[in-house]
């Protein structure tokens, strides 16, 4: 799973939409969705794993926030995709 795969899920995109308005703990975030809190936690875990979301401890709870730097991962993904693709295309043209 990478950042683009993570963005492929509509619930995760909605989570990012909510978090970019304001950082939230998982409980407050879950009340805004029809899916269960454990499901939201799993989506947050995925978003953290690919670097799109970060977490910070506030007292007894973790508050989640969008990690803007994480979108560089998306850039690198697309960038390296076309690096490889175009060099392979060039090799193909010489066959």
């Amino acid at each position: 799973m990478d950042a683009l795969d993570a963005l492929g899920n509509p619930t995760r995109r909605e989570i990012l939409n909510e978090l970019r308005r304001a950082p939230l703990p998982v409980g407050a975030l879950a009340t805004r969705f029809d899916v269960s809190r454990p499901a939201i936690s799993r989506h947050l875990r995925v978003l953290m794993d690919v670097g799109l979301v970060s977490t910070e401890e506030h007292g007894t709870q973790n508050v989640y926030a969008v990690r803007v730097q994480g979108f560089a991962v998306v850039r690198e993904y697309i960038d390296s995709f076309w690096d490889v693709a175009l060099s392979q295309l060039a090799a193909l043209a010489q066959e």
Binding site: L4, D5, L7, G8, P10, R13, L16, N17, R20, R21, V66, V68, F71, A72, V74, R75, Y77, I78, D79, F81, W82, D83, V84, A85, L86, S87, Q88, L89, A90, L92, A93, Q94
Partner: protein, 145 residues
């Protein structure tokens, strides 16, 4: 926006055919969606843009918006953001000394309003910056970028 180009040692007609009919030969192996590293990938005048594994399983990778042989392609690109909010890829083929320059411009397209839709100008900007900074890579030498 990301822009990259490469010069192919062939005519624009052949470059276009390689890009569309033989996409399975240049598509990075580790980025296949069927799990078959030798899958067939085709970009067709019919509008289909798909991957087909040897067991016959097919995955739609996008949709062809413009198909102008030897000149231009515009694709809706599903990998990453899905069919509802595709990114957009424009590929142009231009005769140059030594062959054909193929230029790929990859933009957020419909994916952006979904991710950064309303009044969060800051995040909208950051998304723009992500793609704008890609343009810097486009200044690199011909083949290897």
């Amino acid at each position: 926006m990301i822009a990259k180009s490469v010069v192919l040692a062939c005519s624009a007609e052949r470059a276009f055919a390689l890009f569309t009919e033989h996409a399975g030969k240049w598509w990075p192996r580790e980025r296949r969606h069927t799990g078959d590293a030798a899958s067939v990938i085709r970009i067709e005048a019919s509008g289909r843009f798909f991957e087909r594994a040897h067991d016959g399983v097919e995955v739609e990778l996008g949709a062809v918006r413009v198909f102008e042989p030897a000149q231009r392609l515009i694709l809706d690109w599903y990998p990453g953001t899905g069919a509802t909010f595709p990114t957009r890829v424009e590929v142009t083929f231009e005769p140059v000394a030594g062959g054909t320059q193929v230029t790929v411009v990859h933009e957020t397209g419909a994916a952006r309003p979904d991710l950064f839709s309303d009044n969060a100008a800051g995040y909208r900007r950051s998304w723009d910056q992500v793609f704008a900074s890609l343009a810097a890579y486009a200044a690199a030498p011909c083949v290897d970028y």
